[in-house]
């Protein structure tokens, strides 16, 4: 699936929810499904700055596709859910497509109202970090 197809899928899912609490529950549950990452990646080098809670992210290139792996401290469930959703959208795509992705689903699913501005700062940091990986790997490859 392309990045946009994935985004559209998330938008469709969120349209099923009337209550913002149900959206939050969905995000929390996504966080719970996140596979734990190896302890070696839970360092400051992989920490996403700007998050209130601690979230780590790293990427690996395989056959010119970039795969993301993320995790958060156990209590940070909404943050873990958000990174899980971003990984779902962006992981397994080409670095170029990741770097240039227009992530319109965030606005469309009402995530900007779902997360506080302080947490939205964290969400933006997550997106920036993933796009940065995309940008760096696309230049390496070029």
């Amino acid at each position: 699936m392309t990045i946009n197809e994935k985004q559209d899928e998330i938008i469709d899912t969120f349209e099923l929810f009337d209550d913002p609490l149900d959206k939050t529950q969905y995000i929390i549950d996504l966080g719970k499904k996140l596979s734990p990452i190896d302890e070696q990646y839970k360092t400051d080098d992989y920490l996403i700055k700007g998050c209130q809670s601690r979230v780590w992210l790293y990427a690996e290139l395989k056959d010119n596709l970039l795969y993301f792996y993320g995790d958060g401290e156990p209590e940070a469930q909404i943050a873990k859910g958000l990174i899980s959703m971003l990984i779902d959208v962006l992981s397994g795509q080409t670095p170029e497509n990741i770097a240039n992705a227009d992530l319109y689903f965030i606005e469309r699913v009402g995530m900007s109202s779902l997360v506080t501005s302080r947490r939205a700062g964290g969400l933006n940091s997550m997106i920036q970090k993933m796009k940065q990986y995309g940008s760096v790997y696309s230049k390496l490859h070029a």
């Binding site: 913002p20 209130q52 209590e75 943050a79 506080t116």
Partner: protein
């Protein structure tokens, strides 16, 4: 004094902001320790000033300037009465509590605290009662010492006795803690500090609207607070100081209003309180602040305190049954602050889910990072109550927390 029951419905009707839905639910505003909402009369006083007699004060000869000056000085008189200061000369307008503490650090501190001198603060201080002293100590070589607290959130008074020495120049403590709710024994602290020859600054940000403040009975040297935490406008605060100390202090900011005569060779300064009020002040907010003071006085501070205590007691008992919830700050005497953590749940997640239910609480370190470190936590969720809050709202909070716990576990 006999406590009278306040008609909360009537009080609530004075606060336009409370009558709204947030995320589809009726707003429950429990972030009062950060800032309180404003009653109609405060809002009207603000617009009344701008619509009726906006003018720069003190220097103008025209009618509007006279009217504005008079309203401005009436607030000073109201504040003097509110804190029982001996004179309006000792009531300095600032931009808030932080501004007041910085003023004292930059004037009293620079003049009277030198290398090797000691400043005592407590573990529970707000960053605004830590950082200005650290800056002063870097500049002057003085030493900042910290009075430890017990697990309950109360100051360790035995440790205070040990830390108070003939090198102590200033003790600076909060009247009440914004993060824990603890009411500190400021009268005892002031008595002991004075006996040791030290001055005392009380940070009244969390005290002024809840506690009886009589600066003469306390014998406090400096008392600072913000009007926006006591139903008044933002950007406006008070520094009370004893006349003999204020007189001995150099001015803070230089500019208009604070001078007697300026020549290029030498400038002489104005008398109190204007010596510390350089530039055009925050006239509109100062003018409106009087109505906030009158609002509190009309309800009666003791009556407000009784209502808030009833809310705190009810809330404390209500949340005690929530599995894994721990209240941070269990002092015997508290203002209406309920700070808590729940096992396995991040306070930010709690804040987001409560907000989605229309409940406004504060989450995080509450500008008290060293205090959070003392408890080994990164932050708390904090509900803080004001006169317009109700028992029903606490029931909503409890149900909201339970819902969040269910979602997150």
């Amino acid at each position: 004094m006999e406590v009278q029951t306040i008609d909360i419905d009537t009080v609530r009707s004075l606060f336009p902001v409370l009558d709204q839905k947030v995320n589809g639910k009726p707003l429950v505003y429990f972030d009062n320790a950060a800032t309180t909402q404003k009653p109609r009369q405060v809002i009207d006083a603000l617009t009344g000033y701008y619509e009726g007699y906006n003018a720069n004060i003190h220097r103008g000869i025209h009618t509007l300037a006279e009217k504005a000056t008079s309203a401005f000085e009436e607030t000073r008189a109201a504040i003097r009465r509110f804190i029982n200061a001996p004179s309006t000369d000792e009531v300095i307008f600032t931009y808030g509590t932080t501004d007041g503490i910085n003023l004292i650090a930059k004037t009293f501190g620079r003049q009277f605290i030198g290398a090797g001198d000691e400043i005592l603060i407590s573990t529970m201080e707000h960053h605004s009662n830590i950082v200005p002293w650290q800056m002063l100590c870097e500049e002057k070589g003085c030493i900042l010492k910290v009075i430890p607290i017990h697990d309950s959130g109360e100051i360790d008074m035995e440790a205070f006795d040990r830390l108070l020495t003939d090198r102590t120049r200033l003790v600076s403590v909060g009247h009440a803690s914004n993060a824990l709710g603890t009411v500190n024994p400021v009268k005892e602290i002031i008595g002991k500090a004075h006996a040791a020859g030290a001055r005392v600054l009380v940070d009244g940000a969390q005290g002024a609207s809840h506690l009886d403040v009589d600066v003469q009975a306390m014998d406090v040297d400096f008392y600072v607070f913000s009007l926006h935490k006591m139903y008044g406008p933002t950007g406006m605060g008070i520094l009370y100081g004893k006349r003999e100390i204020l007189d001995a202090m150099p001015p803070y900011r230089g500019g208009g209003e604070m001078i007697r005569e300026v020549t290029f060779e030498k400038t002489t300064y104005a008398d109190l309180p204007y010596k510390f009020e350089a530039g055009t002040p925050n006239i509109a907010d100062v003018v409106a602040a009087k109505t906030a003071v009158e609002f509190i006085e009309a309800l009666g501070k003791a009556n407000i305190a009784a209502h808030e205590k009833a809310l705190l007691d009810y809330a404390t008992a209500a949340v005690a049954t929530i599995d894994g919830l721990r209240i941070i700050g269990q002092a015997r005497e508290k203002v209406s602050v309920l700070s808590f953590v729940i096992d396995g749940i991040h306070h930010e997640d709690m804040g987001v889910i409560l907000d989605q239910q229309g409940i406004a609480v504060r989450t995080g370190h509450h500008c008290t990072q060293p205090l959070m470190k003392r408890y080994g936590i990164s932050g708390t969720s904090r509900a803080s109550f004001a006169v317009y809050n109700t028992i029903e709202e606490i029931d909503i909070l409890k149900a909201g927390i339970e819902r969040a716990v269910k979602m997150l576990r």
